[in-house]
């Protein structure tokens, strides 16, 4: 049971953290249509997170709720991929700040949704029938997110010099973080053994094919990745998650059990 709960939290934290990140574009999108598109993506992800937290809360059965799981856990308890908590720009030094970069947003959404279309597809046969149902619903959403981000990735990569440079920089920055996808966590191993989860390593070839195909069409180069492997899904996060959670959780913590 606890294997299933840990696995559900990993999936839910992924969705809520990326949902919160992408929602930062709300009202600031590069054009009105993209502003709405990104907000739609965020709402899909937050909807997925809600269903997953609800199921985790149900299995925990100690009176916890979806809100408690989302708003009253601290960063080291979150089990999301580090990739998803990074800001919408490249690495900075010290206290430097930068504007949000749409290429970073798009590349991240692409790398993640290219994984999730395969994860949700596989989870449709999960031993947890609720999770299987959530997977069927989420697969349609992830498929659209993949279309949306892939379309922009190709337009940016195969666009102007400026857009190509930005897209390549975003790929170079973010691709190393995807190494975390393939390093199986204890929670994932337990969930796979219980028949609830999917062994992500079996999805790598399909993910590689999607990524290579899109990068080629976008005239972008896939950088060599080696070295550091992030460990967000075991609770070791970058410095960025705390700030993201502070913003996301402050209202619920200021007004516990508030209702409106």
């Amino acid at each position: 049971m606890s294997a299933t709960i840990d696995y559900l939290l990993h999936l839910a934290d992924n969705a809520v953290v990326l949902g919160q990140r992408d929602a930062e574009w709300c009202g600031h999108g590069p054009i009105l249509e993209e502003d709405l598109a990104l907000a739609n993506v965020s709402l899909d992800l937050i909807g997925q997170a809600r269903l997953l937290y609800q199921r985790a809360a149900e299995l925990k059965g100690d009176g916890t709720t979806e809100d408690k799981l989302a708003y009253f856990r601290d960063s080291q308890e979150f089990r999301n991929y580090t990739l998803l908590e990074l800001p919408h720009h490249g690495a900075l030094v010290g206290y430097a700040v930068a504007d949000r970069d749409y290429a970073t947003t798009i590349v991240r959404n692409f790398l993640y949704s290219a994984l999730m279309v395969h994860v949700w597809d596989a989870l449709q046969t999960s031993a947890d029938s609720t999770l299987a149902g959530i997977a069927a619903k989420s697969l349609k959403e992830a498929t659209y997110h993949l279309h949306h981000s892939r379309d922009w990735l190709v337009r940016m990569g195969d666009g102007t010099d400026e857009s190509h440079t930005r897209a390549q920089a975003a790929v170079n920055h973010l691709l190393p973080y995807t190494e975390e996808f393939w390093t199986v966590s204890p929670a994932e191993t337990a969930a796979v053994e219980a028949g609830v989860g999917v062994d992500v390593r079996t999805l790598r070839a399909a993910w590689d094919a999607l990524v290579n195909d899109a990068l080629a069409e976008a005239t972008l180069t896939r950088p060599q990745v080696r070295g550091y492997v992030p460990q967000g899904k075991v609770g070791l996060h970058s410095e960025h998650l705390g700030f993201l959670l502070a913003e996301m959780q402050s209202l619920a913590r200021a007004h516990p059990d508030g209702c409106w």
């Binding site: 054009i31 009105l32 249509e33 993209e34 709405l36 598109a37 739609n40 279309h147 949306h148 379309d151 337009r155 195969d158 666009g159 102007t160 010099d161 400026e162 190509h164 005239t219």
Partner: protein, 98 residues
């Protein structure tokens, strides 16, 4: 890599067919770089509240519209020809709404 940036994206007219409706209805317009992008954007702008099951996008430049200055000769002559309206029939109650 050699593409020059469009200064402004062309305008597209969006038509959406709702679940109940038979025909696509005009619901607005948006800017997009090409037809497939216009279709994606129309999905996000005009159908996110389950408004539709089918979308058409048409370049606004392809639409030839009647001239507002010719409104008089175009439309006014129809105003006094009430015999063109099927309002002189008695519809049996069983037929219901027509």
């Amino acid at each position: 890599m050699t593409t020059t940036a469009l200064k402004e994206w062309p305008l597209w007219e969006i038509f959406v067919r709702s679940k109940q409706g038979l025909e696509h209805k005009h619901c607005g317009s948006l800017h997009a770089a090409d037809a497939s992008q216009a279709l994606h954007m129309a999905r996000d702008v005009y159908t996110r509240r389950q408004e539709g099951v089918s979308i058409w996008v048409v370049p606004s430049a392809s639409i030839t519209a009647s001239n507002p200055d010719e409104k008089g000769e175009f439309f006014d002559p129809a105003a006094d020809k009430i015999y063109r309206h099927p309002t002189f029939y008695e519809i049996p109650d069983e037929v219901g709404h027509m």
